[in-house]
Symmetry: C2
Subunit: 301 residues, 2 copies
Amino acid sequence: MAVLVVGTVTLDTVETPSRRVEDVLGGSGVYAAIAASFFRNTVQLIGVVGADFPQTYTDILQTHGIDLQGLERVEDGKTFRWGGRYTEDFNVRDTLFTELNVIEGFQPVLPETYKDTPYLFLANNAPALQLSIIEQTKNPKLIVCDTMDFWINEERAALEALLARVDVLILNDSEARLLTGDTNLVRAAETILRYGPERVIVKKGEHGAISITESSYFNAPAYPIKQVADPTGAGDSFAGGMMGYLASVEDTSEEAIRSAMVYGAVVASFNIEDFSINRQKRVQFSEISSRYQELQEAVRF
Amino acid sequence: MAVLVVGTVTLDTVETPSRRVEDVLGGSGVYAAIAASFFRNTVQLIGVVGADFPQTYTDILQTHGIDLQGLERVEDGKTFRWGGRYTEDFNVRDTLFTELNVIEGFQPVLPETYKDTPYLFLANNAPALQLSIIEQTKNPKLIVCDTMDFWINEERAALEALLARVDVLILNDSEARLLTGDTNLVRAAETILRYGPERVIVKKGEHGAISITESSYFNAPAYPIKQVADPTGAGDSFAGGMMGYLASVEDTSEEAIRSAMVYGAVVASFNIEDFSINRQKRVQFSEISSRYQELQEAVRF
């Protein structure tokens, strides 16, 4: 089955205590699409770049079999640029700069062939834009969206309208607390269910993720990584890996989503071992399977 | 089998955003011993109180079947008092006061009948005192100890001498980072193994706990609690529940320790639902079993 990913395609500058990289391939759409590409499916990417977007980066996406029909190129524009810096423990990230460039005013139009894609992942974006994508689709089997603090603070009404239309909301722990004003994550997730999603997945970084529905609670482990190089894109890799797996098994049951979350955690664990998508370029499916099995062993009691 | 718990017996004053309680029963030894008492075993408690320690509190410990032969009463002394305050999210605790009283200069002498107790839990205490207990025992089957930031900072050498003599060190995530200077928890735990323990258990509060040995990695879930009343004693309840279970099955294998950690997490989850040991007073073993099964379901994939 096919997965449609709608997200950003960016040139990132990332500083960690040990290294600095400039204008590397990044963006929520890129991380999610590459993560989804490890499973047997078709991955479609909706996004926008400028004339400065390097051909080598387009080649990387194509090498991963990603359908780029929906990747718009604005010939008189510049690609979205983002800069961030991590401190020693990687839990704190400072945004150094954000140059929206071609993202500003981007109004994606779905190619006709994408409109009936069954698995839709709306990476973090303006809620109105995320909603406009849903409105162009023909009844997807599963709509999953991500969001962030900026939209919770600035576009609350639009975000609530969006939440009424999605099946699954993925967000991190601090965002769940911000959205609900509740410091208790389980209660916060239950509150979010009342906005419409039938499932809320709360990402907790190195502590894994939890999934809550009206009738289920799942505690997904994170894969323990000893050498983190760059956590950028971990959350999008998690979501993308999850969607990629679900599309490959054509299943949205509780069982499938549990496995999918663990596959997402595994793909994210590779992502943070190097900058940009450098580690992902070399990942073999056998390595993904191996870490999945290790996690099965790690939670067994 | 018997469990010997060595820890503090205190009168606590606890403030949370919703309530304040004064001179309630607390202390690492109390929380651990009561947690251990839910399993089929004998629980022995070594500690010290003053003449002001209420008979009702002694009665509570006896109701839980705890052997108090080793609970010293100093007739001209006052019981250790501690005061703490929690903020809204319960992750930050300010110590309001610490009155050591009878704890100061306490040199526990093991009753003869305790010397061959096979399961020994040394709750947080001065490392030299913890070591003096080990030296009085006759080759316990399992020695588990806890520690805290104060001893890591102030009694480093004594702590390292202690670690060379224990089988399992339990500590929380910030303490593991402090002890090793490493922000990565997996690496930090591996470093601690080199001090001597064959297993390191890192407690992560609402995120559960991890156990690391040379050859195993276990990720124990926390039981999700929606209404936290007072987190005081959660860590000691976790450790005590774990020890109580191990003594009841007379097993220290990886399998047993995994189950024991989850039982510990369950007992701790009850503990935080009320102040002091009020919730523990009413816990039935069937409730413990039920939450254990819920956690099995929560991690299954």
